[in-house]
């Protein structure tokens, strides 16, 4: 067998092949670099400002050194708690409806589409809408309005992941429940839901982590607060919001606090995402088999 007459092009083809491989590797390196750079810089800048005071004190007036973001951490906690009360039930119910009762119907498709629309709404627009719906009639900013905004933003993620996790429950499990003579939809649901629960919980965690870092919807709903506050009816501080305000301020002390806050926030989010990945790769499959 002879190597053929097309050899003239083979050099070009080989070179193109190697070239593309190099480009792909370069692209990968360029993508990984900012990520690593951001993380390293965050740790470098934030770690030095992280101390006990950060977690226990409220911000000091400008010019006085020290202080912390305790109020912002608490505020975020309160806001996220409220958000979960809204986002989780509605999202899970929506997901159950899509997976169990409405599967394949036009209505279900419409619900799914609507959830996707909700997901795509820019967070700032959500803030505007909530301002109009709650802040304006109440004539004051409040933690309540911020929590509602965040809660609504959680719904699509929770709904989608719940539906996906429920659909992953093998048919055998449902058939076993039916075979036991359990016709009541509620019982069937509790078996299926229980099987899928690790996945559903991870979905909630994912949504939680996502809204934990949201700033835009809070700018004119929760507004932010320099002082300690636990009331739902007053403006409240939030970690990402505080980071934003401090970052664009002209004071070095506040910049330091911003970095520290960013470090805390990113650690929480990385933990959440890693946990989600860990559970998804093991938990659901284990639970279902």
């Amino acid at each position: 067998m002879k190597i053929d007459q097309f050899k003239t092009r083979s050099k070009v083809r080989t070179i193109s092949d190697h070239l593309v491989t190099s480009l792909a590797v370069i692209a990968t390196a360029l993508v990984v670099t900012p990520l690593v750079a951001i993380f390293i810089y965050l740790v470098y800048k934030g770690a030095s400002s992280l101390n006990f005071a950060f977690f226990t004190q409220v911000p000091k007036p400008v010019g006085e050194p020290g202080g912390g973001m305790a109020n912002a951490i608490l505020g975020s906690g309160i806001l996220l708690g409220l958000a979960s009360c809204i986002g989780v039930p509605i999202g899970i119910s929506g997901g159950i409806y899509l997976a169990e009762f409405g599967r394949g119907t036009k209505l279900a498709n419409a619900v799914r589409f609507t959830a996707d629309v909700l997901n795509g709404v820019p967070s700032i627009v959500m803030g505007v809408a909530i301002y109009a719906l709650i802040v304006n009639p109440q004539k004051h900013y409040s933690a309540f309005s911020g929590g509602v905004a965040l809660g609504i933003m959680m719904i699509p993620t929770v709904c989608r992941t719940t539906e996906e996790m429920l659909l992953m429950v093998p048919h055998a499990v449902r058939e076993a429940a039916l075979g036991l003579g359990v016709p009541n939809w509620r019982s069937v649901l509790s078996i299926t839901l229980k099987t899928a629960s690790p996945g559903v919980i991870t979905g909630c965690m994912l949504a939680f982590a996502r809204v934990a870092g949201e700033t835009a919807p809070l700018i004119f709903t929760a507004l932010g607060n320099q002082f300690w506050s636990t009331s739902l009816n007053q403006p409240i501080a939030a970690l990402p919001l505080q980071i934003y305000v401090y970052a664009i301020s002209p004071y070095d002390d506040w910049h330091r606090l911003a970095w520290a806050g960013a470090l805390v926030l990113i650690i929480l989010i990385v933990l959440a995402v890693s946990l989600v990945r860990y559970v998804t790769s093991r938990g659901v499959l284990k639970g279902a088999s």
Partner: protein
């Protein structure tokens, strides 16, 4: 159960309704020209777009800013995202794939405000000291890189940070549609004597191209609505310049900056109308993207990595 599902409808309808209601004032006064009219400052005879004091409201600079920053971001992000996707699906050694995919996922999870923080303190000085002067020197003749804004803020800064932010989405989705291409297609091309790049080009990219376009459009959708990071680095000036290094504003950033302090009804209404426009545009763009991606992945089962 069904009630909760219906509440999702209700929420979206409520949002849309409120946005329409509150922008009524500005809509009644300006109509469609709200988005393109140009005013003239009575003192300086300069072009004027956004003057809350004199009730001159034109959204043109913000539409311009949104489009320019988003397309600049796409220009930077798409080649990198597709390159990353190609590397991860077709070239990456198995051991590296998991960690790299996880890293990309982390990139997607970083909140916008942290990107903004990093951009303000690291990216902008970098641009100011090193990159922008280089751009002015080498590409200033195009007219796109003027030298009257030495702050490092502006469209280039916004474009770069936006590119970093939309990269993970475009890349993940591209990977998904590339993986959905059946193995038999790859083998068919290889058996004809193709090199690896030729195989990727003919079997994978060609078959997945509709989905890749969908991924890019989804990235665009995300870029259009992105607020915090952009607000922190774009300079917040309601003007239109031909220089990419100039300060500007986007639809999202002007709302973020002015909404809390706006007191006049017309001002608030104008801002709400901008919000409404953003709402409608992102719905359309996202719906289009979903359609394209769905068309490609519909047959193939979801594959985990």
């Amino acid at each position: 159960m069904v009630l909760c599902a219906f509440s999702i409808f209700g929420i979206v309808i409520l949002i849309a309704w409120q946005l329409i209601l509150r922008s009524q004032l500005a809509w009644d006064k300006f109509g469609m020209s709200f988005f393109y009219q140009v005013f003239t400052d009575s003192y300086t005879q300069q072009k004027l777009y956004w003057d809350p004091v004199n009730e001159h409201f034109s959204a043109l600079p913000f539409v311009f800013g949104t489009l320019v920053s988003s397309f600049l971001a796409l220009l930077l992000a798409v080649p990198l995202a597709v390159g990353l996707a190609i590397f991860l699906t077709e070239m990456c050694p198995r051991a590296l794939r998991g960690p790299l995919a996880f890293l990309t996922e982390l990139l997607a999870a970083i909140p916008s405000v942290i990107y903004g923080l990093w951009a303000v303190f690291v990216l902008v000085p970098l641009l100011r000291e090193h990159v922008n002067p280089l751009l002015i020197r080498s590409l200033g003749w195009t007219g796109l890189f003027g030298d009257d804004n030495p702050t490092g803020l502006g469209f280039v800064a916004a474009g770069v940070i936006l590119a970093i932010m939309i990269l993970p989405i475009i890349s993940s989705l591209t990977r998904e549609v590339m993986t959905a291409v059946p193995h038999s297609q790859r083998e068919a091309v290889l058996a004809l004597g193709a090199t690896r790049w030729e195989m990727i080009r003919m079997a994978v990219l060609r078959n997945a191209r509709i989905g890749i376009v969908g991924a890019i459009i989804l990235g665009l959708g995300r870029a259009l609505g992105e607020t915090m990071a952009v607000t922190m680095v774009i300079g917040n000036s309601p003007e239109i310049h031909h220089s990419l290094l100039a300060n500007g504003s986007t639809m999202a950033s002007v709302i973020a900056n002015e909404y809390a302090e706006a007191s006049a009804d017309m001002h608030l209404s104008a801002l709400t109308e901008i919000g409404l426009a953003l709402f409608i545009v992102t719905i359309i763009v996202n719906a289009l993207a979903q359609l394209l991606v769905w068309a490609v992945t519909r047959g193939a089962p979801r594959q985990a990595h």
